[in-house]
């Protein structure tokens, strides 16, 4: 039976449509909004990175400073020594506009999700490892639960924090938030590594969805029904 992902749920194929949804409407909506925002942030983040693929530690760093490390790719600025004989086109204008707009979308969606997660018992019931593991296809195991909680409560807050710490205006209001990270260039470097961790999570997440049955799982995250 090859149900299309987009087809309405076939009541004959799904035995019990009155059962509680696998994912609540709010979880499904925030999941896909976050997906769109994250992919936009990733694409534009890479574009911004290309204008200066060098990383530093501390407050300040530029092409006259020895870097902590460099990414061996060509740059979109001729002032950056990359070893490549060409310069990529500058994409920073729209990339920055879209990066910050997507950041707002991700942050506001994330706040809504977290508020819902606490108030509805979603975190306690579905993600807290201590909760009883039903051990069936509708429940996550301990490693999955811990990973989701780590992404939600460590990686996302950290990527937002290090992003804000790069803002000179935010730094003027919360100077301690930059100092504690080791400086503005350290914040940029940490921002990069947290992004790498989020991409690793994304790849693992997609791999598990594929192994568990891609169409079925995606449909569940869209319609709520297994």
């Amino acid at each position: 039976m090859a149900d299309s992902v987009w087809a309405p749920v076939n009541t004959a194929a799904v035995a019990d449509t009155t059962a509680p949804a696998r994912h609540s409407a709010l979880v499904r909506a925030t999941h896909w909004i976050t997906t769109i925002a994250f992919l936009a942030l990733l694409l534009t983040g890479v574009e911004i990175l290309i204008s200066h693929p060098r990383f530093y530690w501390g407050e300040a760093g530029n092409v006259n400073t020895s870097p902590l490390f460099t990414i061996p790719i060509p740059a979109s600025r001729g002032t950056v020594p990359t070893g490549y004989g060409y310069v990529l086109p500058d994409q920073n204008g729209w990339s920055r506009y879209l990066h910050f707009q997507s950041a707002w979308l991700a942050v506001l969606t994330g706040l809504l999700y977290v508020a819902f997660g606490f108030s509805s018992g979603h975190f306690r019931r579905n993600l807290l490892p201590a909760a009883s593991n039903r051990g069936d296809a509708t429940s996550y195991n301990r490693l999955q639960r811990s990973t989701y909680l780590f992404v939600i409560f460590v990686l996302f807050p950290l990527v937002i924090w290090t992003g804000l710490a790069m803002s000179p205006a935010i730094a003027s209001v919360l100077p301690g938030s930059v100092a504690i990270l080791g400086g503005q260039q350290s914040a940029r470097t940490i921002h990069f590594f947290v992004t790498v961790a989020l991409v690793v999570f994304l790849l693992g997440h997609i791999t598990m969805v594929i192994r568990a049955g891609f169409r079925n799982r995606v449909r569940t995250m869209i319609t709520g029904r297994l």
Binding site: I48, L49, S51, H52, R54, E59, A60, G61, N62, V63, N64, T65, R77, T79, N92, G93, W94, R96, Y97, L98, F100, Q101, S102, A103, W104, L105, M166, S167, P168, A169, I170, A171, S172, V173, P175, V178, Q184, Q185, R188
Partner: protein, 247 residues
């Protein structure tokens, strides 16, 4: 269809709140000049939030020991004949004109500007590309000049122009009157070098480097940025970059 009453009410409340927020932002001057179009919502959220949070905050200042030994100056387009003529005379006649919504439009020479009260700051300059340096900037506070010429009450923005015709920008009065916004003529204790914007650079330390425009020759106080260029407040949005760069 099962759209519950709660969902309808929630949607209505969110839509009303959004529309109200947009109206309040517009009235309070919290919409940036490039706040329309595809990226308008994000830009408006950023500018409005930061304007409310940062109206009086000071950019971080650093110890002399933290000054970068190796600051970097982004290359500029060739400077024209007028610049070279002024440079040949050590910039003594470098002009700074102030006009627009002021009681006493005036022009000051670099020598006059250097005789005015000085503000010193050791601040971080970050380029939107990702690199940065820390340097000591010395100059005359923009607020001092605005007081000298008498800013009129309806003033909302200060437009500043470079001798490089393609470069101009603007800041709102919160940044214009901010104590750390200076017309810098001295860099790490010496005359501001040409690659770093000498002889006169607008220094706006709570925003990214591109708001600190080099080679300033004219300031215009205005209540309406639509009168300038394409009406987006700066040459930056005309080139695809955001007007507000506090990020």
């Amino acid at each position: 269809m099962n759209i519950s009453r709660r969902k309808l009410i929630t949607t209505g409340v969110i839509a009303t709140a959004g529309a109200s927020a947009a109206i309040i932002a517009e009235r309070k001057g919290l919409v940036p000049p490039d706040g329309a179009g595809l990226y308008g919502p994000g830009e408006t959220l950023t500018y409005a939030t930061q304007r409310v949070l940062t109206s009086h905050s000071l950019a971080r200042e650093f110890a002399p020991s933290q000054i970068s030994k190796d600051p970097f100056a982004n290359p500029v387009a060739p400077l024209g004949d007028e610049f070279k003529r002024l440079q040949a005379e050590a910039f003594v006649d470098w002009p700074l004109a102030i006009d627009g919504l002021v009681d006493r439009p005036a022009s000051f020479s670099l020598a006059q500007l250097k005789s005015f009260p000085r503000h010193n700051q050791i601040t971080h300059l970050a380029c939107e590309e990702g690199w940065s340096y820390i340097a000591q900037w010395t100059g005359v506070p923009l607020s001092h000049l605005l007081n000298l010429v008498g800013t009129q009450p309806q003033a909302r923005y200060v437009v500043y122009r470079s001798i490089q015709r393609d470069w101009w920008d603007s800041i709102d009065m919160a940044d214009a009157l901010h104590p750390q916004t200076v017309l810098a003529h001295t860099f790490n204790g010496s005359d501001l070098p040409v690659p770093f914007g000498g002889p006169l650079r607008m220094r706006v330390p709570r925003q990214l480097g591109y708001k600190s425009v080099k080679y300033i020759t004219r300031l215009t106080v205005t209540d309406d940025l639509k009168k300038f260029g394409k009406g987006l407040g700066s040459s930056a949005p005309e080139g695809g970059y955001a007007w507000y760069a506090g990020i």
